[in-house]
Subunit: 413 residues, 2 copies
DNA sequence: AGTATTTTTTCGAGGCTCGAAAAAATAGAG
DNA sequence: CTCTATTTTTTCGAGCCTCGAAAAAATACT
């Protein structure tokens, strides 16, 4: 059962609250923070003075438009970029990229690299990942000790504890404990995150107005994935990660899915499925990789003439619609962001999708459901990993922070 | 965003923690509470002394087996039954029942009543509900002022805020704001709860070992409903309540469902659907009410001979299996309790159900998923309502408790 | 009757937040 | 150019709350 609140938890939580308020708001004044957190001015003053002394926050004098007002001008508080840094590692099909991000969220170094993930043996794949990270650590321009955490993102299934990649479409390898590997190699905490979850995290930061409490990010790419945010928090299953939205059953016994089962949503809406249908191949045809350029060409053809290509997208829309409908039968409708190559063809998908949703229990609100599209998933995944890692750092800097508040026994003027 | 923790919240939360520890454990000693909550002995001592003075808890001297140990015997703490009471109102098909439950959870009065819910006009239905509650209030044996809260349970859809019945299979009436009606009539807080959710709540109390953090309660009755507990908390959608599990699409364009759509799980697994298939009626045949006795007879016949009856249960199992499979694609597998008349025929349903699950993404763990059955849903719903209401009371008694802790400035010996 | 053992209470110390008041920093008025 | 109004931030004392240690209480064993 949940545990009682100790006296010292109080400060810790309120410190966290202040940090998160600053991260969200950008350059809030102490007064603003007091307003959003509901804590008193005195408390905010005390906490932020601590955080500044510890080098976590910095004061940034002029907030420009402040000069319009009468009284004492507000002092903006910002995250100190030098407080610490995090590293992101994103492994996608034939592509590996790392970035170093300072505490304020700015990219300060990056490296990208092509490699053949599909044929690479286990040791080599792991070796490439650790090597690219090591190169960042050995960068003379970078203060190595300042990197506090690594977040790695990958397409596929990860375990709930964000420790290992269990399965991924980009390689035939399974069960690689990347988090443990990176931690062992570099001695700093690491997590292994699912790509769609990171897309959702990134959307929450990009547009907090729209993507706040409940929303869905769906990856329309070779495979179909989903990141789900409920009540403002990433929702992962109880055991493994990443709602396996793409493998909900659309038609029992239906088309062959990459996962080996039949009738999954993905077997109708994944790139390979759309390709298969557009080429009028059998639904049992072995899934093949289709390049992004080919998919774009396919979409163009579907827009031009009402042939099998258009029908393929219609089928994809139908499958996605029934999947979403089933989802909306369990959780209520929420805004949806479509991400990935096929999101660029969402105009072809949407009509059938909406029609399908309207036939389901979630359909009552089908009109009110709104869709966004974002054709490029990689930047989102990187951003999500960065924010994820920074979020962890926020939570960890204040935890030992209570002890770390050495010296400064009393606030000195 | 979430709000900072004030200093006085601390006591309030820890009081709540103590109360909930006592409600869960039955007769825990102060030492036990300290262990489960993680708070210090001094704190528990102070809080429980407050709670006893306020009449919320009582000391109950001998804990019997305690005499085996050496030192000072433990003093059990229990909920004071007289602290307050709650009332439950359960409205089901042609049946209305109320009960008064003391703070310790014992039923101290009840009344049940048959009525024709299906044809009853709106005013009359509401009138019957308020009248039966009023009769309890007018009971001379009962201290009226002690009833602190009403929880009403109903089959069907309720709004997220637990205020109104939006739709129910037991009546053609819709959108009855029962919570507001009861509050207006009797001046005490009331909520309108969904039956399946209450079943889940009750299971959590009946068998906390098995039904702790994540589990599912499925109602197999005329309709199909679901109550879902995730991370120890009732999971309701974001807008309306009660995952509409029964109306997930099993076969697009398939059998006619009571809801008017086609292919829902319920259109294969609801009592009327099983009946329809067993009688080899059309899948488009209008849903009809089937009595419990008829359903039991049908199950008996299905067990005897391998005819259309057995096939009907097989189809029900298949639909439920695919529904559960889709569910398990989103949240990971969890124990399932089957409740309601058809749960008594679960032996007929289970084989096809497991086979279907095995074909879905959740199927990897299909072997490990375990099912319980409970043919009688009404007692569960009543129990759930009672615990729900008491839970609210627990949360409300401590909130004003901080102010209400009048007099007793210091702990007196 | 005395000792060991376990539970519960008491007591002082240390922290934290709060409200009120003071201090700081600026724009506008005369 | 000085004074006043206004707004933000800090300071200070008060009031709670939790904690650890020690004391008190209550029983079983010797």
């Amino acid at each position: 059962m949940s545990v009682g609140i100790r006296h010292d938890d109080l400060r810790r939580r309120n410190r966290a609250m202040v940090i998160s308020a600053v991260r969200r708001a950008g350059q809030p004044s102490r007064t603003e923070i007091a307003a959003t957190t509901g804590l008193s001015h005195s408390t905010i003053s005390a906490i932020s003075s601590d955080l500044i002394q510890e080098g976590i926050l910095t004061e940034s004098k002029p907030s420009e438009a402040a000069s319009l007002k009468r009284g004492r001008p507000q002092v903006g508080l910002g995250l100190n970029p030098e407080a610490t840094a995090v590293m992101t590692v994103v492994l996608s099909l034939n592509f590996l990229s790392v970035a170093v991000i300072d505490y304020a969220g700015q990219v300060i170094a990056e490296e990208q690299r092509r490699l053949d993930t599909q044929t690479m043996p286990r040791d080599e794949l792991i070796g490439e990942c650790t090597a690219i990270v090591r190169r960042r650590f050995e960068d003379p321009d970078l203060d190595v000790r300042s990197v506090a955490r690594i977040a790695m993102g990958i397409q596929g299934i990860t375990d709930t504890h964000a420790r290992a990649m269990l399965w991924s479409p980009i390689t035939s390898l399974t069960d690689i404990p990347f988090a443990d590997i990176l931690e062992g190699e570099f001695g700093i905490p690491a997590t292994m995150e699912n790509d769609c979850n990171m897309m959702a995290v990134a959307l929450q930061w990009r547009d907090p107005e729209r993507y706040r409490d409940d929303f869905i990010a769906i990856l329309l790419s070779h495979g179909i994935g989903m990141g789900l945010v409920l009540k403002g928090e990433l929702f992962t299953g109880t055991h493994s990660s990443g709602g396996e939205f793409g493998h909900m059953i659309h038609r029992p016994g239906g088309a062959l899915c990459r996962c080996g089962r039949r009738g999954c949503v993905e077997a109708y809406a994944g790139n390979y499925a759309i390709w298969r249908n557009a080429r009028m191949m059998s639904e049992d045809a072995e899934p093949t990789d289709v390049g992004d350029a080919d998919m774009r060409a396919l979409a163009a053809r579907a827009r031009e003439t009402d042939g099998p290509e258009r029908e393929a997208y219609r089928k994809a829309g139908e499958a996605l619609g029934f999947g979403l409908g089933s989802l909306f039968a369990l959780i209520d409708p929420a805004p949806v962001a479509m991400v990935g190559v096929s999101a660029a063809a969402f105009d072809l998908i949407e009509p059938a999708l909406r029609e399908a949703i309207a036939q389901t229990a979630g359909g009552q609100h089908s009109k009110s459901i709104s869709f966004d599209t974002e054709p490029n998933e990689l930047p989102l995944i990187r951003e999500g990993c960065a924010m994820r890692a920074l979020g962890f750092v926020d939570q960890e800097i204040f935890a030992p922070g209570v002890q770390a508040r050495a010296g400064a026994g009393k606030n000195v003027a």
